[in-house]
Symmetry: C3
Subunit: 342 residues, 3 copies
């Protein structure tokens, strides 16, 4: 690719400050900027780098006020991060897309494949499965019996979708993810052994959802495990049976949600969070990484931390004291002594 700063600015509704004809040929991170590349500054933590980056063009927020001279040409926009997103999306959509059916693949005669879909080699499409228009099923993916994959959805290599699960339009499921494995349900027997509870429900993933690599989403015991529209789930996350994840909720890597818990919309969970089963989490709740939740969270927009979880500010205050505990203990002993001696 080759563009001028002015051409880029027009694509993202920005204004150029500097050399309008500056050519750019690639993108780079601001701290690793190279000549003739385009970069961006959104996180203020990285502002220092704009003063000596070798990138030729930097997209910045309209509100950005340089504190020192900037060598690079700037493109000012309302929201630099969003503008970058749009630009990279345009770039991605300009790349050739895979279509057609590669051989050898396995497509049951009762399955239906949408227009312009891609079925990679070694992909397996089971009986009565339906693959949407423009959908991509990458090599080695497994699509179970009766599964529905929506239009424009991408199922990357080696993803496994068990029978009867439904994945909506415009989703992305990354490599190695497992959708619809059995929920973890056993009835204890008299001798300490366990009887399996067959899991006869499914998983329903609504549209615009992204699921990370090697993430697992179990099918419901009965009914559906549900991931609502626009939710974004990172790698190696565990979603247990009958969980519901609300719309536009974002869950970072290695988080686990136990069975039947209902999570609100627009929540944000850090990595390695654990949420026990049969709970409710309100809308817009935020959780710090490694938070452990043992009770329902009813307050919208609560910010939680610790295990078991409490209000994050309260946790931090207690943790400051935790660090001081040996000193507190000593102070108490000395005080005790002092009082006794009085």
């Amino acid at each position: 690719m080759e563009f001028t700063a002015q051409q880029i600015a027009e694509l993202i509704n920005g204004t150029v400050e500097g050399n309008k004809n500056q050519v750019i040929r690639d993108v780079s991170k601001i701290e690793e900027g190279r000549p003739e590349t385009l970069t961006f500054l959104a996180n203020p933590k990285y502002e220092q780098h704009i003063y000596n980056t070798d990138a030729s063009v930097v997209i910045v927020n309209n509100s950005f006020k340089p504190e020192k001279p900037v060598k690079a040409t700037l493109i000012r926009v309302e929201d630099a991060y969003q503008a970058l997103a749009r630009l990279l999306q345009m770039y991605e959509s300009s790349l050739p897309k895979k279509t057609g059916i590669e051989q050898p693949s396995f497509i049951d005669s009762s399955a239906s494949i949408g227009e312009f879909a891609y079925i990679g080699a070694f992909a397996y499409i089971s009986e009565k499965a339906k693959i949407g228009n423009n959908a991509q099923i990458w090599p080695g993916a497994f699509i179970g019996e009766g599964v529905e994959i929506g239009d424009n959805t991408i199922i990357y290599s080696g993803t496994k979708v068990y029978k009867n699960c439904k994945i909506g339009n415009s989703c992305i499921i990354h490599a190695g993810a497992v959708v619809g494995s059995d929920g973890f349900g056993f009835a204890p027997g008299p001798d300490g052994d366990y009887q399996k509870i067959p899991q006869v429900g499914n998983v329903v993933i609504e549209e615009f959802v992204e699921i990370g690599a090697n993430t697992t989403i179990d099918r419901a015991t009965m009914g559906s495990t549900i991931i609502r529209k626009g939710a974004k789930i990172d790698n190696l996350v565990q979603i247990a049976h009958n969980v519901e994840v609300g719309s536009n909720t974002v869950i970072a890597a290695q988080t686990g949600v136990a069975g039947s818990t209902k999570i609100g919309k627009n929540c944000m969970f850090g990595g390695q969070v654990g949420i026990a089963g049969h709970l409710k989490v309100a809308d817009q709740v935020k959780m710090a990484a490694q938070t452990g939740v043992a009770k329902s969270i009813t307050k919208e927009g609560a910010v939680m931390m610790g295990s078991p979880a409490m209000d994050a500010m309260q946790y931090n205050k207690s943790y400051v004291m935790f660090r001081k505990l040996p000193a507190i203990y000593q102070q108490l002993q000395e005080l005790e002594k002092k009082v006794s001696e009085k």
Copy 2:
């Protein structure tokens, strides 16, 4: 399917309270009950739902005493959860089962395949592997050299079993699980680099074991990593080299057990538990989610919590105080002042 309440009651040794001829066509969760469906009430937490569920028939414990009128027909049994398990098992076993060898698959000429086994397309059966009778090897699974898979065992799509591992009868291994990858063993060299210790042992999984999706079980350095009869292991669990998991022990998702640790039988671990290497955990030990274990647990039936782990009741008492730490600190300072001023 279509049954009457009376027919269901006969299958599970129950007694009908209400309309014996009530037709049911599906199952549902009590809180999402629909007409002409069968549901159950076992967890008292869900009792409120029985008074307004639209499900037509509810399986309950003999001991259940309604506190308000119940619209649905009841089937009373000794243990509602067990009865449900049995019923769903009957349903599952009535479904048609896959058998035969799909093409293209790869079966080494020295491998042996049991009667009525299913080998899915793109499955790979290595030299000298033995697949039991009625076993199912789903599409894209990899069965290494010399591996033995027992009768009636199901290996779901994309599961990988490295060479020489043994999986017993009537096991279920979910999609994406890896059995027999190298244990994490390196000898530190003089320059800070590491020499790999080849892992020449294997993994032995006894009968009636269930292994979750994308779980990893490493082969032993020498000897065997062992999962005993009836153990149930959830998704994304890590079992390191030379670990032994006792019979009927239940391990929830994202738990990790480090090398050479021996875990007793009938234990129950919550999610995201971590257990250090070279330890012993006694029988019937319970661990709360996110517990971190750094020392052996010798007391049978101990209930553990925290990181590092302690007795759960003690942990909870200390944690109540942790929440109060800022107030405790302040009280101490004020007391100090008071004493000084006296």
Copy 3:
């Protein structure tokens, strides 16, 4: 195999103490030693077993001084663990190695395959991919467009490598690992929904790296996620976009490193560690299992523990007090009462 103690000693530069002609046919762990097997003693925790092991030959450190009579023949070496590593490596390299291209596999006509490489059945080699000499691509692995795999590197079954990633020489990538999946990057929109930031960077893995089963390493937003020479990463680890892991750093299972964090060389992290994004971790830093890191660690060789992380010794001191908190609280209340009554 069949060797005498003397033959083994010569291979590892050791001296025999006992029966030079003792035959060994296999290896075993010292606590499970069987006659005619070779074992080793390196970890002093296992010393007790040397006095009653049934193994016929034990490799020990030159410095080992038995406290009781030892029945087995000893081979004394400088470093028993290293000697074992070397011995097992010799054994492994004596096994026949897979080479050649199995059918059916999918190799794009623009891909290049090195000499003596192995391409298993159902492996997929995309356009312009380059597979090194003696490299092994096991069945069902997916190698994306433009990917480079170095000489002697082993990619186990079902591993997925997304487009443009580079894996160096002499690496081992275990089954189910995902290299190059999209980083988790979204720009928040005005309605609480999210716009995907396409991830146009890649992953670069240098030589002598080992990556565990089902581990996920995301591609960079721009630039590269980098795993430096000799790093060893265990199973189910999450490495986010634009992370850098330093040379010879060892990361145990289920650890997660968030985006753009730079980790030094020769670090050692226990299992289930979590490290937040945009941080720096100095060289030779050690972290206890389950440590949670929220701030950069600038001190070389620091030993960290807790969540949020602090110096491990300090954490342990505070944790001793945490255990005593109910007693401390009571002491404080009694003291308060005493002071009030004076």
